[in-house]
Point group: C2
Chain length 460, copies 2
């Protein structure tokens, strides 16, 4: 029995223990965007530091101006080194009444189709994914007494809230953190049976705008139509972001967005993706974006502009005839290829200002930004990881794009000069960021096994 | 000393008592739109019934499917009879953090300019106004042992929440409630020194729309641009309600809206109204409505369409990259002349449906409706009331319009066949429906005196 086979057997034997540890983390309410949960975030970081020390890492939760960052080293092996990144923070849970159970009381449930899933906030994004990696390390240590490669683990607590403190932390600790390859677990498989490595990621530009009108809420009977209504101004501003063809109207928005290379378009064409299936899962059927482009191209290689939140005036039960003093919206742009987040932010702000009545005012709040990224999938580390994944899942792993943004990927590239293998075991129907988030039990178990294989492969 | 002079002297003597009673009502949290305050509404109705019995009325709080309606009779006098209407319910108080003090802990404050004001939710809308009428009755009874005319007082508890139960109540009790003239207190003076009788009132059509997209909240990275975003659909629907000239685009919206009669336009032109002053009070300067029309015409005799509330997606602190499953808006139309609320509601719903993607759905909630109204100001009761007001304030009272809607006015006309004298002592800067609502102490005291005079005048 090879070393790897013994590690894989150990993983299968210890599944109950692995689940117990995952549940312990899932019970911690590490909602990073809400200051009320700062203590929970700190406790979560401390939990990981202690767990990693128990495995044999030199680990600590390090304080930042925001939530702590966990750093753990085990560099006893020789050979090419790796830096693994995950995040322990989770999205808010509202609307809470749409959850079938307490988001922080995890459980393994069997779905109607027989699939076993781990239910709870963070199960897929990203606690289940990062614990899959940690469990792989634990198994290697248990069986062989050491890791196959020199390894550093970095766990962030602000991925869901803008991640403002990570760039400075990376810059300040370059020598300590730099490795030959980056490993990130925050991505999906192609489908439930096909593993994937993401080599193209969209960037992100997050922006909030608050339109201020009168210096108080007004009665719409006395002031209706005569006084500026921030709701109306905001609706007009937001509607004008799109033209009739579903294209974003900001000047220069599509600068640096080439048509998809023919070869890649061809490869993606073989994936059997259909808009009907993609949208059907969530109860939709009509692709909503740019007319004439297919949905896969849209979410992997075209930029987006989405209104993630908007609100103004009375939203409670019943009716209130008010003209609100302000209205606001949170907007995110997903970026591709060479789009510049800063130019797009400026174009958006100019778009708003151009549509403001003279007696109204706009306030802007920046919510993070990162460029799109693309890795050279011909690098040997990518080939090794691909083979390891293909061995575990019995099916060739594919190189794909991802509509989501993982800003840290870009940071690892720019701050530490590292390429990154993005391999995760999430699925499209995991409901991340939504009520009833889940992570398939198979994703967790075969995820652990996959990472164990990748760690072994990278040492060769 | 005439009977009236003795009544007025009694009013001035009893101001401390009158304030004490008003404060007792202002302390009751009678927010009718929020079911959590149903008990407070019932308590408020009971308070009035008991107070009116103490004055000598035959009074009771009568139950309805919603909040109780208080009815009180004192028909010992002879001569033409009157039905007085007021409402004891108040608007919600959010946003609470914009109040300088507890909305339900009333106080008399002296403003920077020396004006004394009664501060608290409902002080102007409508508790201060209705108690001014009740105190006038109390003074007549105290001095003469009876009221000058046969009188019924009706106090509603659902004026701020759609008033769905009042029409049925009026219809069911026509014989008991019918009188020669209606008296309503829920209006403003022209300015702080000029009393006014409102003879033109805008109607109202309140509507809520909820746009449903995917069957769950989605991650905007994975689904961005490809999946329908209810926020985006709603923004487009709302923006399309207005054209570049500030006119409402619903087909047929302006049917039954004539140009203002020349004589009325001329009379209004003498009032010294300016948009600068009107909007300046609330920190604005640019009239926002139909281009080419002045602001007074806009709020008194032109229809309006206002987005009173809208919301969808994540509105908390920080950022959440979600595509929400739904977004909603509350919209009110203020109606003039012969506009039909039902046709306008249907036109709005058609406007929404025409802009819905095939895989999305709209849900509609009706929030009350009432036509615009105009009284024949040549009627003798109007002349008597006008003279009484002019005597009290030492300045001729004016006949004006009002942008606000008082649906009960239309109900009294249609259900009971009554004309209504609308005389109130509110001011434009009372912040009704807003934080820090107030009612001038002068409005309260001279309001009581004015009603005492009107009651006397109507008996002659």
């Amino acid at each position: 029995m090879s070393e790897l086979d013994r590690v894989l057997a150990q993983i299968d034997r210890d599944m109950d223990g692995a689940l117990e540890r995952l549940f312990a983390v899932l019970r911690i309410k590490s909602i990073s965007t809400d200051p009320a949960f700062a203590g929970d975030c700190a406790a979560n970081a401390e939990w990981h530091a202690e767990d990693l020390r128990a495995i044999g890492f030199d680990a600590a939760a390090r304080s930042t101006p925001g939530h702590p960052i966990v750093v753990a080293h085990d560099r006893n092996a020789s050979g090419p080194s790796a830096l693994f990144y995950g995040h322990y923070d989770v999205q808010p849970v509202d609307p809470l009444d749409l959850w079938d159970r307490d988001p922080f009381d995890p459980v393994v449930e069997t779905q109607a189709d027989g699939t076993k899933v781990i239910r709870g906030r963070g199960s897929a994004d990203d606690k289940g994914q990062l614990m899959a990696f940690v469990e792989a390390c634990r198994a290697w240590k248990a069986v062989t007494g050491k890791l196959p490669i020199p390894l550093t683990i970095l766990l962030e607590g602000e991925e869901e809230s803008g991640g403002v403190n990570l760039p400075g932390f990376l810059d300040a600790n370059q020598d300590e953190l730099k490795a030959d390859i980056g490993l990130i677990c925050d991505t999906n498989m192609w489908d439930a049976t096909t593993p994937a490595i993401v080599t193209m990621l969209r960037g992100l530009c997050g922006e909030e705008v608050i339109i201020h009108g009168a210096d108080r809420d007004l009665h719409s009977g006395f002031y209706g139509m005569a006084a500026a209504n921030p709701n109306r101004i905001l609706a007009r501003i937001l509607a004008a972001l799109y033209d009739d063809q579903g294209r974003v109207t900001l000047p220069g928005f599509y600068d640096g967005v080439p048509e998809l290379p023919g070869q890649l378009r061809e490869q993606w064409g073989t994936l059997g993706f259909t808009a009907e299936k993609f949208l059907g899962v969530v109860g939709l059927s009509v692709p909503a974006g740019e007319k004439g482009r297919d949905a896969l191209e849209m979410v992997w290689s075209r930029p987006s502009c989405e209104i993630n939140g908007m609100g103004g005036g009375y939203q409670g039960e019943g009716f209130k005839t008010v003209i609100p003093a302000q209205a606001s919206a949170k907007i995110s742009f997903r970026l591709v290829f060479d789009q510049d987040p800063h130019r797009i932010r400026e174009a958006f702000r100019a778009h708003v200002r151009a549509r403001l009545p003279a007696d109204c005012r706009a306030e802007f709040i920046e919510h993070g930004s990162g460029r799109a990224i693309r890795f050279p999938d011909t690098d040997p580390a990518f080939a090794k990881a691909r083979k390891a994944l293909s061995d575990e899942w019995g099916k060739p792993a594919v190189f794909i794009g991802s509509g989501g943004s993982i800003p840290v990927t870009h940071m690892l590239k720019t701050s530490l000069g590292m390429d990154v293998v993005l391999a995760g075991f999430g699925l499209e129907d995991d409901r991340i960021h939504s009520p009833n988030e889940k992570y398939n039990l198979v994703s967790f178990q075969k995820g652990i096994r996959s990472w164990a294989r990748i760690l072994g492969a990278l040492s060769s």
